[in-house]
Point group: C3
């Protein structure tokens, strides 16, 4: 562990928490890979008239997951897929699976990434960093319909 | 990255956020393995009279963790345990550990899975998918008493 | 899966949710390794006059991440670094990267750990376990300035 060389924090700003806004997002994937959800989540924040608080994404599946990753260089997403395939390979002695060889690796990849994400909203906008995008990761080989609950908690209206 | 083939979202529904409900759950594990907490979390949601919002689970330990995984086929949980053991094997050159050979792998497995989960509550029920269950994963070989903070934020009453 | 040997839960306590408190924390890292943020997050909780609710930490980067881990034995952090280096090694056939050999491993390590943390606050204090500390993990070799959004949702004042 290293001590922080320097550390600064802005004065806390407080607002009244008054709203929960919920919506269900359905995404049709085209098989294994990343789907960028950032603009859809930003649209939800606008529709919800969210001002200060946080958005939660929750994916209702165990063979697809969520992550926040680099948005600039698409080869990063290719390498992230390679990394997940190495960490959870097919045909690695998993129990016989009637769902196909991509099923058990899909569960492992889901466990190693995220089922829910939590992104602060400040002054009406997602507080993502410059290089951050929100992705759904489809871990199954074939296309699937995936459901994600979007929920804003905070001040809105 | 693949563009979403199709994507749809329901109209956002808004309610007033007015409650924080907290409770402490103690679980006695029987050694390494998965413990299904789903019905206990659902019971908390009912007791809290939660309507719209989200439940957070937070485990107060660094050698046990949380995950949301497949509830139908118990062999999935066996394979997930195998996968974690491969990613964080015992006797892999970790520093001498007076806590036993399962201690450092337990910390690594905790880092790779989740210390907190966030599950939306819609119309008074957990918004889990059909195949999703909430599990505590005990990473130590011997039984332990584990504490989990349950907290609902949203509309209740 | 093992059934819980015993399981107990305290009576839920309810308070009014009325505040969102947000602050931006900047941390200057000194290169790859762990930085303990626990006392800074505790200070934020005090400044926010938080009573009951939860604090979210969100890191605005894709090559640094967050985790909750053992606070007592510093060799645990050394072994966690070793574990991450083994799971996401440099020079492992990643695509040519003008950002340097530590860039792609940094993205993978971020995907395997956490971009956001969610810690309950009970009776004005972080509900961390005895051995839990909150860490920023810098995955790049060189020092970086990292930004973390701190946000409390709950009852305050």
């Amino acid at each position: 562990m290293t001590a922080p060389k320097s550390l600064s924090r802005t004065t806390p700003s407080t607002v009244a928490a008054n709203s929960i806004v919920s919506s269900l997002l359905a995404v049709q994937t085209s098989g294994a890979g990343f789907t960028d959800l950032t603009s859809e989540v930003a649209k939800f924040v606008r529709d919800a008239r969210a001002r200060e608080g946080a958005v939660t994404l929750f994916i209702r599946h165990t063979s697809a997951s969520l992550t926040i990753q680099e948005n600039a260089d698409p080869t990063v997403l290719v390498d992230l897929t390679t990394a997940l395939n190495r960490l959870a390979p097919e045909n690695a002695g998993w129990r016989p699976d009637t769902e196909g060889p991509d099923d058990m690796p899909a569960h492992i990849k889901t466990m190693l990434t995220a089922t829910s994400l939590h992104i602060p909203v400040l002054q009406g906008a997602l507080a993502l960093g410059t290089w951050q995008a929100v992705y759904l990761i489809e871990h199954r080989a074939r296309p699937h319909r995936r459901e994600i609950v979007l929920q804003f908690v905070g001040s809105a209206g």
